[in-house]
């Protein structure tokens, strides 16, 4: 896992399994970086992620709630088809933009 803050944008490089076990640390670390100030965009980078369940949805929704009142946005990048399906089914795509590369 890796976190990168560039100006007002936090990128979280998610682990292979985005489950309950791994999500607790991500929540803590992401919130620490968000609360330090200036983070307006959170990008969830799914390049390495093969597995995501409702705990992963909780991580996304929770960060969205933190930044949306300041006009922030959450994005998903490099999500495979399975992850996109999970994001859609959960309704997360209603609040999150999916970055599609070509």
């Amino acid at each position: 896992m890796k976190y990168e803050v560039q100006e007002n944008c936090l990128t979280i490089y998610l682990p292979g399994d985005l489950d309950h076990h791994n999500s607790e640390e991500i929540k803590r670390e992401a919130d620490r970086l968000i609360e330090r100030g200036h983070v307006r965009y959170v990008i969830f980078d799914f390049s390495e992620t093969e597995f995501c369940d409702s705990s992963g949805i909780g991580v996304i929704m929770g960060r969205y709630k933190k930044i949306c009142m300041f006009g922030g946005e959450v994005w998903a990048a490099h999500a495979n088809e399975r992850i996109k399906k999970i994001l859609k089914m959960s309704g997360a795509t209603k609040i999150m933009q999916i970055y599609e590369e070509d």
Binding site: D19, H21, E24, S54, G58, M61, S90
Partner: protein
């Protein structure tokens, strides 16, 4: 001994501590057990998600993060994979309500109430038996290889 109907029957049982590190262990073990049904990658992903949801629920809700035992039974009968995930935790007072999409009793832990919806979407059948103070068993079934059978019949 169980009678063999429509080919193979096979069973396994697993018992482990309700620690979050065991979530991956549980779903990978069930995924590995089901490979004898020659599943597609998507079917494996469906079952892994369902197992992960039920096990996570046992840890967070059933045992409220106290360490106790979780049991998984997995059985194969013909093409059907049958799973039972059991905890002896707090139980669910109203199962029907618990299974409604977006219903959660732990919003403060950022749960979004999607677990049962995922189990129902990815498995063919989900039945929850629970008694307050006694615990919860989630029974699930999924027929493996539905799509492929169609393809085989057509190509013959």
């Amino acid at each position: 001994m169980r009678e063999i109907i429509n080919g193979m029957t096979n069973e396994m049982k697993l018992e482990f501590d309700s620690r979050s590190a065991n979530e991956a262990f549980a779903r990978v073990t069930v995924a590995s057990f089901m490979t004898q049904l020659n599943p597609t990658l998507e079917e494996v992903s469906d079952v892994k998600t369902a197992v992960s949801e039920a096990v996570t629920n046992a840890i967070i809700h059933g045992y409220e993060n106290h360490v106790n035992k979780i049991q998984i039974f997995a059985g194969i009968e013909g093409k059907t994979l049958r799973l039972e995930i059991t905890d002896r935790g707090v139980g669910i007072p109203d199962v029907k309500q618990a299974m409604e999409p977006l219903f959660t009793t732990k919003p403060e832990l950022e749960r979004s109430g999607m677990g049962f919806s995922f189990m129902e979407a990815f498995m063919d059948e989900v039945i929850v038996e629970s008694e307050p103070g006694k615990g919860t068993t989630v029974r699930m079934k999924k027929v493996i290889g539905k799509g492929r059978e169609l393809w085989t019949t057509q190509s013959l």
